[in-house]
Symmetry: C2
Subunit: 330 residues, 2 copies
Amino acid sequence: MQTLLLNKDQVRRLIDMRQVIGAVEDAYRAYSSNQVAQPDYIGIHLPDGRGEIDFKLGYHKQAEMISMKAHSGGFANNPEQHGVPNSMGTILLFDATSCALICILDGSLITGFRTGASGAVSVKALARKNSRVIASIGTGNQARMQIRAISRIMQIDEIHAWSRTSAALAAYKQDIEREFNIPVTLAASKKDAVENADILITTTRGKGDLVQANWVKPGTHIVAIGTDQRGKQELEPEIFRNAKIVVDSISQCSQKGETFHPLANNIITMDDIHGEIGEVLLGAKSGRTNDEEITIFDSTGMAIQDNTTARSIYQNALANNVGAFFSFFE
Amino acid sequence: MQTLLLNKDQVRRLIDMRQVIGAVEDAYRAYSSNQVAQPDYIGIHLPDGRGEIDFKLGYHKQAEMISMKAHSGGFANNPEQHGVPNSMGTILLFDATSCALICILDGSLITGFRTGASGAVSVKALARKNSRVIASIGTGNQARMQIRAISRIMQIDEIHAWSRTSAALAAYKQDIEREFNIPVTLAASKKDAVENADILITTTRGKGDLVQANWVKPGTHIVAIGTDQRGKQELEPEIFRNAKIVVDSISQCSQKGETFHPLANNIITMDDIHGEIGEVLLGAKSGRTNDEEITIFDSTGMAIQDNTTARSIYQNALANNVGAFFSFFE
């Protein structure tokens, strides 16, 4: 009995955004067809402002694969005091037919990739086919990851970007133009960015001013990434009133996603949630039906996305003889 | 940043029951002095009668150590169909100051050792000092582990053992007499075994006939191990009526330990639970105060026992240059 070990460099070489998009679609379809078990995650908040560590468990029934992702974040003093990143991750994969531990892989890259892929999956399913212009509210790692993923599945002519700080905005413009050769316009305001967009992506920490409803033009697809827990918000709830609302998980998004806010403000009811993205992918619910409707994809992130993404990397490693084997028992 | 890997053979060589007893005492003291965070465990029950896998998280604040134990069990077809044991375990240790993953060790031996040690800790704290005779109801691995631990902290003159099957009983006698040189008497009935005991240990699956109250002589210390979830029971609840009841965790034992049954039957109230073993070790609660009282230690098992036991093994490995290092990131 051998366990495959994959370090961060190996994961970086084995991960392929096109495959991750496929893995995330697999995860969404499985979730919305009762092929997933995902208990509530457990975690520990460390004292003294240190940060937290969470453990997220997912079981993909069809693939007979169990994943556990340990993920820590918020340890701002780590680089200086301990010589390690402020955020780290490790994923365990178990063959569910025996519960043998088949792979341990660095998990610090996968969350970013699978979250980026989620936006692209929603664009395929919900954005207008003639979409060419993206507004990016937020210019951090995940804002870049969204472009990395979406550029794989459509042609992006232009990005209007906005950030609270001009230094972050300038860095984003430089990185995106160099890596993807897509021109980035520095927006003077959120409003300026949003008004120009076919697709609006929000990836902030969800603590700033809200995107206002009257900025969003008909036909826009909104990818709402930043809000994954209570206390975060990126969109004026009014945007939801007449939009087609698609979520990764109805239970999660109604409790801690962007969708929580219009529900709490009685702007929508649960019945106004069109469905889960998995249902759209399965054909059980419609996608976009005309060029005028505003579509919203609310992503809170699910353990099963880690599961299918890690499985794809594991299979790539086996196929390419990458990684080291270790025997935990004879 | 390096992670130490320890396989089962290495853990077996590094584990020392005397140290495990100390580690479990440390765990109990920490738990009863608010130095432990232990979220509810999460798990997945596999379909088709396969078994389950659980993930148990513990944080020892003083030691700044976080542990996660993945433990699977009940996979009866594993040896034949998959060439792996029916139960497997893996423990991750994180330095809580940074949440760096410092050790991954095979966890299949630790549960047995730390559970054995828990009985010995209770014997030190609660049994009569002149105890010499043990009754063992149950003759499986954990019954042996209890003797391995208790023989480290007292002289055992004789064991009266009982099992449902005579083959298991004969194997137990042979193993115990060879390994520990303690004579084992095969009891004709549970009653015969219990009536002879200074210390009564119950380690069955908790599905059989109950030990009856009128069999238990004054001054007996009872180590109740087998009941760790609803549906299991080893003792007639009447035994609790006038006994000194000590538990590993009040919240766990009142919900799913042996102590649940006398509570559910209104034989005792929560106020009749004398306290947690950690409180006794800390001196906050008395131990045994005379030779006549019946003491009961109800053990359901806690993640923090895995934490302190694994930490002790990790430290032994570092001190003895055992194990292999792996870098999950640069």
